[in-house]
Amino acid sequence: MVLKGRVLVAGSAEGPLLRMTAPLSFWGGVDPKTGRISDPRHPQHGLAIGGTVLALPEPRGSSSSSAVMLELIARGLAPAALLLGEADAILALGIVVAGEMGHPTLPALEVAELERLPEGRVRVDIDGSIRAG
């Protein structure tokens, strides 16, 4: 099964799919020192997002999420790839700035029909294709 996303930040990566079941603001929702979901009200509180293909159906919350994304990248705790239900100039921008600062970047895609992605390992390619397995 192959989905095609619109490339926001180009790159290729692979990792286990972590699908957010509720909107997540990185600021106030992800601890930049541990990469874990820190909002106690989030249903996935406590899960680590590092190394995952993180699927975020809806954007939410603070504009400081760019800074949390940059800090996660600088600390090696960022997701392997970011799949956004809607393009978001906040999280993707944290990745762009990371690139300017000489850190490794990660692919970010805008993907319609995120719900079609099966659980398990996911591979993201530089052209925006997303493959399960």
């Binding site: 106030g28 930049p32 954007p59 939410r60 100039a89 700035v97």
Partner: protein
């Protein structure tokens, strides 16, 4: 879509304004490309949210721009930092973290931004005119400047606001354009009692409901009284921008782009209508409290998110007169408002009651609350939303009068009749 740049913008990319402006322009252009913006728009002012310490990486970014000779090209105010510079020792950082937080604030000033250190710059003299294109960060400030002042900005993330300030450009899409400012959703609150709609405590709850309902959609709200003051609209927007990604709302008959519902809708039919019923409102209110229901324990009270205005301090002083608080009571504000209330003679009576004034920062972004986490009572939808994750405190939501009565009693005192 390809991004069309003007000759001046291309020149900046090629270094005509120096290496910092070139780097800032690369980031602005990249943001435009990834959001599908066809061009950039010239902006008149900026509000910068990148001065709060989240980790060393943000300090290195700001210092890189300073080293490369960066300078903002438009009037730019600064959001909160992580330190109360006027009350050293209030924020309990280890020396290393405090030093990095200070370096970030210093670098932000060195780039030419005004050291306002407030999340309510619109109450510190920074008030763009109706229709002005601006580049603002800080979600509550974005909601206010778009909705209440009718200026135009997208919800800019940290770093992009600063890059826009340096280049005087922002990606031209979304809330810069008429079409995206049109309401798609109608929230009808007219079924709620007018008494309820005239309470201060109604607005953060309305905002919390709106954010959860609207996500990033623009809503037109019916039922906001026409004499609603801007502190209430600020509370509404701040809560909506916390529980959702709201960058603009229209309060029909109140905010400048919504003299009538038809205007707010741009003459089109809404995609959705929601009637705000009392049970939906109470559910939204209850989501702002995470402390065990039925327990009346509180360990601290915090107000001032967004930063308290002069008139909010006047209301607090009137409620607090003659009382002595039994738990710590924090009121967060900007240094501009602090000067204003000092002149008005409010500092002594507030201190006497036990109000601790926090400036330049606030209690959910810096370690200020008592070190032993417990229960925090607040009248702010934004504090209620962010305190559990950021501070470890559970929350109880109440009106300003509830907060004062509870602080004086040392336990939760809420007037439940308000919500019936």
């Amino acid at each position: 879509m390809t991004l069309a740049l003007t000759a001046a913008e291309r020149a900046l990319l090629e270094g005509s304004g120096g290496p910092a402006a070139a780097m800032a322009m690369r980031i602005v252009a990249e943001a435009a490309r990834l959001m599908g913006a066809p061009s950039l728009v010239q902006v008149e002012s900026a509000h910068i949210d990148g001065c709060l310490y989240h980790g060393d990486s943000g300090v290195h970014f700001a210092e890189r721009l300073v080293e490369l000779g960066g300078r903002v090209a438009v009037p730019s105010t600064l959001n909160v930092g992580a330190l109360d510079l006027l009350h050293p020792g209030r924020v309990r950082f280890d020396p290393e973290t405090g030093g990095m937080a200070r370096r970030l604030m210093a670098a932000s000033e060195a780039l030419g931004c005004k050291p306002t250190w407030t999340c309510a710059p619109y109450q510190a003299g920074h008030r763009p005119r109706l229709g002005a294109h601006v580049a603002w960060g800080e979600s509550n400030a974005v909601a206010f400047v778009n909705s209440v002042l009718g200026a135009r900005t997208n919800r800019l993330g940290d770093f992009l606001d600063l890059c826009c300030a340096i280049t005087a450009r922002a990606p031209c899409y979304g809330l810069h354009l008429d079409d995206a400012r049109r309401a798609r959703l109608v929230v009808d609150a007219r079924g709620l009692s007018e008494r309820l709609r005239r309470l201060d405590a109604f607005y953060p709850v309305l905002g919390a409901f709106l954010g959860a309902e609207a996500g990033s959609e623009v809503a037109a709200i019916l039922g906001v009284p026409s004499d609603t003051d801007e502190d209430r609209l600020k509370a509404l927007g701040a809560a909506a921008a916390s529980t959702g990604a709201v960058g603009l709302f229209h309060a029909v008959g109140v905010t400048p782009e919504a003299p009538a519902l038809e205007t707010a809708l741009g003459g089109a039919e809404p995609e959705r209508r929601v009637e705000l019923k009392p049970d939906l409102l109470r559910a939204a209110r209850d989501r702002l409290s995470t402390a065990a229901a039925g327990s009346d324990v509180i360990d601290a009270v915090a107000v001032g998110s967004p930063h308290f205005s002069g008139s909010e301090f006047h209301a607090l002083a009137a409620l607090a007169r003659g009382r002595r608080f039994r738990v710590p009571f924090y009121a967060c504000t900007g240094r501009g408002v602090l000067t204003e209330i000092e002149r008005a003679g409010l500092l002594a009576p507030l201190k006497e009651a036990g109000v601790e004034i926090v400036v330049d920062t606030c209690v959910v972004v810096a370690p200020i609350l008592p070190p032993e986490a417990g229960v925090l009572m607040t009248n702010s939808g934004k504090f209620a939303f962010y305190a559990p994750a950021n501070t470890g405190f559970a929350t109880v939501y109440g009106s300003l009068a509830d907060c004062v009565a509870s602080a004086a009693a040392g336990r939760v005192v809420r007037d439940e009749r308000l919500w019936s």
